[in-house]
């Protein structure tokens, strides 16, 4: 299209936004890029350790898979409420923006609570960062004790992102009257990224370690 071509040519003249986004939004995209690499490194490291060791597959349907599936549903729903917040922000409906953002933060907090219950269950069974429960060690002879390190490391890192995201969203909800639409969009970018990471953590950590035995 001629207009688009002219706009791109014009970018080289300076004094315009070549990405058509503000500097804060671009900054968030760059942060998301770097954080993606952090999680990629963690997940690739996990895959490497898993491939080179006997790996236990201990997650029973209840509670682990049921809980993690509900957590996935909660996180995906929180992304939808965040999208609704951004849409409301684009229409300038500030009270609706606040309502949707608070709904998103509540769903995020629900995710953390469910995850803590899941962690508590596994810790109760005897899983530690560098030790397997006795029954697991007997069921999978020679299994690496690094299972706990990768599990707590990756899910803990993700949970920390959800936690900081909840705080970030509550700050945005509190200051929504003073913020621009793009600021709401930026908080949405962070939140969707947290959801995106879980789309890889859930199958790699949980689904590939399902205990399908009766």
């Amino acid at each position: 299209m001629a207009t688009e071509a002219q706009a791109i040519t014009g970018d080289w003249g300076g004094g315009v936004h070549p990405y058509r986004v503000g500097h804060r939004k671009l900054g968030m995209w760059l942060f998301i890029m770097s954080d993606s690499l952090t999680f990629s490194a963690l997940l690739i490291g996990y895959a490497y350790v898993r491939a080179s060791n006997v790996w236990p597959t201990p997650f029973k349907f209840y509670p682990s898979i049921v809980f993690s599936s509900i957590m996935t549903l909660v996180l995906l729903s929180s992304s939808l409420t965040m999208v609704m917040a951004v849409s409301a922000s684009a229409r300038g409906e500030r009270s609706k923006v606040r309502m949707w953002i608070i709904a998103t933060a509540v769903l995020g907090a629900t995710f953390i609570v469910l995850h803590m219950i899941e962690w508590r269950h596994l810790i109760g069974e005897g899983l530690r960062p560098f030790a397997l429960p006795k029954e697991w060690a007997e069921k999978w002879p020679g299994a690496t004790p690094l299972f706990g390190a990768t599990f707590f490391g990756i899910t803990g890192m993700h949970m920390f992102h959800v936690f900081t995201g909840c705080i970030y969203l509550l700050v945005v909800a509190g200051r929504v009257n003073k913020l621009k639409h793009e600021d709401v969009e930026i908080s949405g970018l962070y939140w969707h990224f947290v959801d995106l990471v879980w789309m890889f953590v859930f199958p790699m950590i949980y689904i590939l370690s399902v205990d399908a035995s009766k």
Binding site: I8, D11, H17, P18, Y19, R20, V21, G22, K25, L26, W29, I32, M33, S36, L37, S40, A41, I44, G45, A47, Y48, A51, S52, N53, V54, I65, S69, T72, L73, L76, S77, S79, L80, M82, V83, M84, V86, S87, A90, P141, G142, K180, H181, E182, E185, G188, H192, F193, D195, L196, M199, F200, F202, P203, M204, Y206, I207, L208, V210, A212
Partner: protein, 117 residues
């Protein structure tokens, strides 16, 4: 419709109906993943299918929820190829070595050699 503060231009950024349909697709793919977890497929097939589904889910989130599909191509080309190349470089280092390390896995207790008569 949304207005970007930086450019001041109006451009389509998705309707609520579109976002709900993306959400339904994401849930459906998650359901398929959980179902596959109980199908006793070889781990390599599982890995390929699950990673394929996860990449589709990630693409849906980035394109629609994160609005990247509605952003300028400049931004997309700055973010996506660099990220893909960096992740591929990491895989390039670790994948071949994980196959080597696979051969070093614990194989169970050593069986005593059969006595010859």
């Amino acid at each position: 419709m949304s207005t970007h503060a930086a450019g001041g231009e109006e451009h389509f950024a998705g309707s609520n109906k579109l976002f709900i349909s993306v959400w339904v697709w994401l849930l459906a793919l998650t359901g398929i993943e959980v179902y596959l977890g109980y199908k006793h497929l070889p781990v390599i097939y599982m890995l390929v299918i699950l990673m394929g589904a996860s990449i589709i889910k990630a693409a849906l989130i980035v394109a629609y929820f994160m609005h990247l599909r509605f952003e300028r191509l400049n931004l997309v080309l700055t973010i996506v190829p660099a990220l893909v190349i960096c992740i591929c470089l990491m895989l390039l280092v670790f994948f071949p070595d994980s196959f080597r390390a696979r051969e070093l896995r614990y194989q169970g207790p050593v069986q005593p050699a059969a006595e010859s008569h």
